[in-house]
């Protein structure tokens, strides 16, 4: 990798870490109900919402009620997104005249967007009306992100409080997250995006006369270019900030209207990790020990850098099929060395303005979190370049992770790490003064095992059924990797894909929709159960026997536990796909 590449990656982490503390501190103020600089503007709106909804903002919920209202609220989102797609032909804001989306695709997309997965079985520019994009998809970009953050804050309260049943009020957590955190950040970010060339309009697609006519695959002459536009910037901003990832266009953030310049690319990548990183600091503040937040952030960062190194290395290699094709035509490929102005490495599926470095960095960030947006096509990555994103999803998306969901997943790994360490030395495991006991361990085991189960069983079913096999577009082990990646993306609520897979079929739409549901709510509910149980416990004072959880030793231990669990669960499945493909190459 060139010096330029190292500088860009370094700059990325520097800016990210500079923003984590101020944002984290701000979010802590929001969740603790303290005044902040936006209070004068937003507080009246917030109070009006509570008034109209007839809720008492001071009233708290136990974990069962919190979980019930979370599910009810998310189900409403499902109905809205499903209904908008089915009836969009008869609704306004449809200048391109999109027809109704099929039932199975609508089901899949609705599940995908309420679960913060944002898997796209459809192609946005040719499927969704502006109304569906805005009132269906953009809304869920906000609300699914807020749901994850609400559940996280409930869990943090479980650690921070003692001797109570209550873990907060879901309604106020949702409203505060949306009004104080997501909307202001998105508003600023979307204007910056437009200033760089991301489109934002309600006009119908633009038509331009081509400078040179071309031929379509039926041999007809094409003289015009139809250029789709739409309210894009407003959706892209929250798509990145809320670890959603569902693009306006099929090519997602590889599309020049979603990501036109290196600056937008940098900011969109920053937005992926921004809130998940900031929440670590928020956690530290809310549990009254900032070192705990920094320790978790350190573990996340170390794992991220390890995987980033693999992806960057792999993608800076030359694609053997490109060399072979050129040789067959009697040509050689430049780009074996990194001369000035010459991309060096695997450029298939990548954009010139981002180059290899930023494509690999994005791929790592988007799969470490549950974002799933792409600025290059993962399907065309080198085998090990594709392995790293896949394995990051398999880690449970706890490396920064989805907004809220990443940190609550990470805290489950912390519980397991503390428990295993406790077993080794024969002490009662405890974390942040709370004893880790049978219920916590049962729920933590569910959180670890459910994704493994649904990903592997889903993949297994797909590879033995004709409808599943039909999805693969590449031959050999790579085709299997496409299927494994799809189910990993469903189960992990990621949303990225080895996009050659033909997944807009009743089989994948239905199976995917169901798996996304389990991957989201069958994690969130055990998390809330842990929260409720922890909140009811007394605080154990720190003693000589307490395992400190902010030391480098514990950080290393936590990283080991995460990597070992993922390796044990997924190594056989990965061996059949990317690993064997690498060996064949």
């Amino acid at each position: 990798m060139s010096g330029q590449g190292w500088i860009q990656i370094g700059l990325y982490f520097i800016v990210l870490f500079a923003l984590i503390k101020p944002l984290g501190a701000y979010m802590a103020r929001v969740y603790q109900g303290e005044r902040n600089f936006l209070t004068p503007v937003i507080s009246p709106v917030e109070k009006l919402i509570y008034l109209l909804a007839g809720i008492n903002a001071e009233e708290e919920m136990d974990w069962k009620r919190y979980a019930k209202v979370l599910l009810v609220f998310n189900f409403l989102g499902f109905l809205a997104v499903y209904g908008l797609q089915r009836f969009q032909a008869h609704l306004p804001l449809n200048p391109a005249g999109m027809s109704a989306v099929s039932p199975d695709s609508s089901f899949n997309t609705a599940m995908s967007f309420i679960t913060n997965t944002n898997w796209q079985g459809y192609s946005g520019e040719s499927t969704m009306s502006y109304l569906t994009q805005m009132l269906g998809l953009t809304v869920q970009n906000f609300l699914s992100a807020a749901t994850g953050m609400a559940a996280l804050v409930a869990l943090i309260r479980g650690f921070a409080r003692h001797s109570t049943k209550n873990i907060g009020n879901f309604w106020t957590d949702m409203v505060k997250t949306t009004l104080y955190i997501l909307i202001p950040l998105s508003l600023v970010f979307s204007i910056v995006l437009v200033s760089q060339g991301v489109v934002q309009t309600f006009s119908k697609p633009k038509t331009a006369t081509l400078v040179q006519t071309t031929k379509d695959d039926k041999g007809n002459t094409v003289t015009e270019q139809v250029i789709p536009v739409g309210p894009v910037a407003s959706q892209i901003a929250i798509k990145q900030l809320g670890t959603n990832g569902g693009g306006f266009f099929n090519a997602n953030s590889a599309h020049p209207f979603e990501n036109p310049t290196p600056l937008t690319d940098f900011l969109e990548m920053l937005a992926i990790l921004l809130i998940p990183g900031g929440l670590c600091y928020t956690f530290g503040v809310m549990v009254g020990d900032k070192r705990q937040g920094w320790a978790i952030l350190a573990a996340m960062t170390i794992i991220l850098v390890m995987f980033l190194a693999v992806t960057e290395w792999a993608e800076h290699q030359n694609n053997p099929m490109v060399a072979r094709g050129a040789a067959e035509a009697g040509q050689t490929v430049a780009g074996l060395s990194s001369a000035a102005g010459l991309p060096a490495g695997n450029m298939e599926g990548k954009e010139v303005r981002f180059g290899i470095t930023n494509s690999a960095l994005w791929a790592t960030a988007t799969t470490a979190t549950s974002n799933g947006s792409v600025n290059s096509m993962h399907d065309s990555f080198m085998p090990l370049g594709g392995l790293a994103p896949l394995l990051l999803i398999h880690l449970g998306e706890v490396v920064f992770g989805g907004v809220g969901s990443g940190l609550y997943g990470m805290l489950v790994f912390v519980i397991i790490a503390v428990f295993v360490a406790g077993l080794m030395v024969g002490r009662t495991p405890e974390y942040l003064g709370k004893k880790v006991e049978a219920l916590e361990m049962k729920m933590a085991s569910l959180v670890i095992l459910i994704p493994v189960f649904i990903i592997l069983v889903g993949t297994a079913i797909a590879v033995v059924t004709p409808a599943g096999i039909a999805g693969a577009s590449n031959p050999g082990p790579h085709g299997y990797s496409e299927i494994l990646y799809a189910f990993s993306s469903f189960g992990g609520n990621n949303g990225s894909a080895f996009a050659g897979i033909n997944a807009d079929t009743p089989f994948y739409n239905t199976a995917g929709g169901i798996i996304m549901y389990f991957g989201r709510y069958f994690i969130a509910i055990p998390i809330l159960a842990i929260a409720g149980n922890l909140a009811g416990k007394k605080k154990v004072p720190v003693s000589a026997g307490t395992l400190p959880t902010h030391t480098p030793l514990f950080i290393g231990w936590l990283i080991s536990v995460i990597l070992i669990v993922a390796a044990l669960s997924f190594f056989p499945a990965l061996a059949l796909g990317p690993i064997v493909e690498h060996l064949m190459m």
Partner: protein, 191 residues
């Protein structure tokens, strides 16, 4: 259940209006006033006619134009209504076949050019609409374009460097040449 449903429906409706209607409308309002050209697709107008977008690639196959990135969009190359990549894996022989055809087309257009081919001219972009090529890919084609247009190679190289976009602040992204803008400028001076 009913006691949950009422606040759920009301809060869902209000937050939907805020995030799904008011927020995009506010962004659109600001965007249309502050950045009207960019918000509407950075459309390039020549002789009063829209000839494309600065940000959306077009397919060039005529040897007297600079060629852009290969595009794997369905229907025809650089079909803006069907963005996407080839999604061909690194061990898929179909990728070698596609590269072979591209390399052969380049050599057929410029039989004397035995320089190594920059990799971005042989590989399909992620969006299928990549508006840029690398400076190396433009230089590789400079001799051909100069010859067919009766221009000096130095003149063409000067045009390339004028249309080269730098890294942001010299740091972010990669250097790149906007193919549509370069070709439009060529048309204004050459044959």
């Amino acid at each position: 259940m009913i006691d949950m449903l009422k606040p759920a429906v009301i809060i869902f409706t209000l937050l939907s209006i805020l995030t799904g209607i008011i927020y995009p409308l506010v962004v659109t309002g600001i965007a249309q006033v502050a950045f009207p050209s960019k918000a509407n697709g950075s459309i390039v107008v020549k002789d009063g006619r829209a000839v494309g977008s600065e940000l959306i690639g077009q397919s060039f196959t005529d040897p007297k134009y600079f060629w852009g990135r290969p595009s794997a969009t369905t229907g025809f190359p650089d079909n803006a209504m069907a963005s996407g990549g080839s999604n061909l894996g690194p061990t898929n022989p179909a990728l070698a076949d596609a590269v072979k055809a591209r390399a052969a087309a380049l050599i057929a257009a410029d039989p004397g050019n035995r320089l190594p081919v920059p990799v971005d001219l042989l590989t399909a972009s992620g969006s299928g609409l990549d508006p840029h090529i690398s400076p190396a890919a433009a230089m590789y084609q400079a001799g051909r374009v100069a010859r067919l247009r009766g221009l000096s190679e130095d003149k063409v190289k000067e045009l390339i460097s004028r249309n080269t976009e730098e890294r942001w602040l010299g740091l972010l992204g990669e250097e790149r040449v906007n193919v549509l803008k370069l070709n439009l400028e060529l048309d204004t001076i050459g044959r």
